[in-house]
Symmetry: C2
Subunit: 197 residues, 2 copies
């Protein structure tokens, strides 16, 4: 599974054999059972996690007492609470496995050391974060500029396989509507992806 990480990094920067070995020495593999947690509110986030197998979700409990999903992490995605990881302050998020998962954990101290030993990792994470930032900006625009149904159909068109993997109520929580609404639009024929008003 560590090989998947090396392959992923090599898509963004070109690692030497020695650099790959530094990375392999810096990470550890962690198994998380379905519903298991890597982080809970009040704890400080200690690592960045690369999903090798399975699926994770980052969520918090909003003031209506509902789970609000901020981020999913599937194979080849990094997932963490960057704010808590960087500042050392307690997190307000849960990081939980949706399926039995295998993740590669890069602990804060190992990460800091690795960025010094293998400076290319700065570039790698810069490019990853640039993608994450623009994707989140786009997601924010969609929240304002698409109807709920359009947002659902757009998401399905981007990640058709993923939609089949996760419980319906989690998809609703991520996209910002009720499970009942999701059932209703799933019940319809595919319809026009751009139907509005």
């Amino acid at each position: 599974m560590v090989n998947d990480l090396i392959t992923h990094i090599n898509k963004f920067v070109r690692l030497t054999e020695a650099e790959s070995e530094e990375i392999i020495a810096a990470v550890k593999t962690v198994s998380v059972k379905k519903k298991g947690f890597l982080l809970q509110p009040g704890e400080t986030c200690r690592a960045n996690y690369f999903v090798g197998k399975g699926c994770m979700r980052l969520y918090f409990i909003n003031r209506n007492g509902q789970e609000q999903i901020t981020m999913f992490g599937i194979e080849n995605w990094w997932i963490t609470d960057y704010s808590s990881l960087e500042t050392g302050k307690p997190s307000s998020y849960y990081l939980q496995a949706i399926e039995d998962s295998e993740v590669i954990s890069l602990d804060k101290k190992a990460l800091d050391d690795l960025l010094v030993k293998v400076p290319k990792m700065e570039r790698y994470f810069r490019l990853i974060l640039q993608k994450a930032f623009t994707a989140t900006m786009r997601r924010l625009e969609y929240f304002r500029d698409q109807t709920d149904e359009e947002r659902y159909r757009h998401f399905v068109s981007l990640f058709p396989g993923f939609v089949q993997r996760i419980p319906q109520y989690m998809l609703a929580s991520y996209l910002g509507f009720t499970p009942q609404f999701l059932s209703k639009i799933r019940g319809k024929k595919s319809g026009s992806p751009h139907k509005s008003e």
Copy 2:
């Protein structure tokens, strides 16, 4: 003004004299009159911009024909369309000055060269993007978990001076409600910042 940039970078990494000089040689200063554009839809975004003085906004025209503001850039903020800058594909955004502004332009080619000559800049931009990413994620959460009035009051508490600087309709466009609604809540006494249901 280039000194403001060097000071800003030094908050995140420690530059040598030689590195500072490389950065100074790589950038250029650009004056933009109020309402002037650095980018318009259909053009490829050619640079990342650091605002030295004034205020910029990144926006697009949504399908209702309205300006939707994605990002503001005031003093000491970087602003660009990272997606177009990275991929070379045409942008769908306008990057416009709200006030007479002075910006430092780091053109794509100069940026790419600089990242090789001064690898610390990879770290600097990684940290900047990490902050931008977490701030955008938080903004997305607020869009879903706060009422319009709460979102307004929260924004004012975070950026009190900024709110005075920009036209009311632009603030409404950024926060996602109508100028009429903004007038209404501005007319009220300060009220409770957490009033709900």
